[in-house]
Amino acid sequence: MNQRIFAGFLIVGVVMFAIAPVYIARAPYESTMGLIQKIFYFHVPAWFVMFSAVFISGIFSAVYLFKQKPVADRIAFAAAEIAVLFGVIGLITGPLWARKSWGVWWQWDARLTMALILEMIFCAYLLLRRYGGPGSDKLAAGLALFGLANVPFVYISVNVWRTIHPATSVVPQLAASAPGMFGPFVWCTISFFVLFFVMLMTRIRLEEQRAEVERLHLIVEKG
């Protein structure tokens, strides 16, 4: 990937991220939750990115399992690591918000439980890649497929069960119900996705370089 284009994306992402708090501060308050609701602008985009990363990891894992293309495995690994990262962000910002608005740090309702399980599946993926030794790439790909199957559950869980967590209808209706919030929300979502793209590309490059190191080791040892 062209260095300059890449650097461009990085700068755009960081700048957007830096400006975001200004827009967020200017956004209107939510009537029942007040100030703490502003965590929403980072919490929801973080989970959007996490689901996207899981999606990418799962799809490319399937490609790797059935088409054996090494590049697919590199993408799947990179996406899995980023999924764990943004999952951590979501799982920390969520309880910080919950402590104020629900009064408890954590609830074992459907959405939170399934989200935690999803995060754990991808933590297990990283552990497997790190400690599993040779052959763990195919195994991890299988694991990522199960993780992918989990995502729809996490998403619809708030609609199927009556839980304390807000339903999925909040975001699609945001433009109509609270236009002052919609702008900052879109801004934050875009900046998160730009950063996601930058991280993903960098991480994939790291995997490519590692593969290159292995290839060169073989050449050097043979010679």
């Binding site: 439980t113 399980i117 933590c123 497997l128 599993g132 052959g135 195994l139």
Partner: protein, 227 residues
């Protein structure tokens, strides 16, 4: 299609025959689950009265732990004398081998659970026997889902480093939804005023997970075992 079931049956019969020589897996798994339940009874029974609803959770924890223990030897045995290679070289569908192994595990877990259910019912004064059909149905469905994912991962890990510790790490996050459904269904049945509609809900959710797990497991077994 008939061939598929025939092969699965043969694989399961082979495993049963091997097991019947030593009864190693049955006895060790049984003993382990009994010790598990005893430890929990020390923790959760105060002055002869168990904590409300503890029985449901403990039953399923015992199932999860003993199931994990039983999964290891299933493929570990095949590592000796290249038995696994022989199995994979056979001109049969890989998924049939998987199904045979899966049925063997489900059978083993069900056998062990006969004892565990009785023990938990006794120690925790839970009305399992009165609702034996409900509990049995939930357990069989839970066993199947657990074993489907477990057999897949046990097979995948057979040649991996640190496989003993990696199996639970990989297995538990995935089967957790099924275990939760099992616990909630059991709770709905054994609580002071049983709610059978709720139990039916959790049971259909469990069945749903089973279908997804089994499908994914059958689908991924082939490419993963091609090594």
């Amino acid at each position: 299609m008939r061939n598929f079931f025939r092969v699965a049956w043969l694989v399961m019969r082979k495993d049963l025959k091997v097991e019947s020589r030593s009864w190693e897996m049955v006895s060790t798994t049984l003993f382990f689950s009994v010790s598990c339940v005893l430890v929990f009874s020390f923790a959760f029974v105060r002055e002869g009265r168990p904590i409300e609803g503890a029985a449901a959770g403990i039953l399923w924890i015992a199932v999860a732990f003993s199931g994990t223990l039983a999964l290891g030897p299933t493929f570990e045995r095949e590592r000796y004398h290249d038995a696994l290679r022989g199995l994979l070289l056979a001109p049969v569908e890989r998924s049939a081998i998987f199904a045979g192994k899966l049925l063997g595990i489900v059978l083993l877990m069900t056998l062990v659970e006969f004892v565990v259910v009785l023990l938990v019912a006794l120690l925790f004064q839970a009305p399992f026997i009165a609702n034996v059909l409900w509990i049995g149905a939930l357990l069989i469905l839970g066993n199947f889902g657990f074993a489907a994912v477990g057999t897949l991962f046990a097979a995948m890990l057979v040649r991996t480093r640190s496989r003993a510790v990696l199996l639970p790490i990989l297995l538990y996050p995935i089967v957790l939804p099924a275990l939760i459904a099992g616990v909630m269904g059991t709770l709905a049945v054994i609580q002071t005023e049983p709610n059978f509609d709720l139990a039916r809900f959790w049971m259909s959710l469990l069945l749903f997970f089973d279908v997804i797990f089994a499908t994914l497991a059958l689908w991924t077994f082939e490419p993963v075992m091609t090594e």
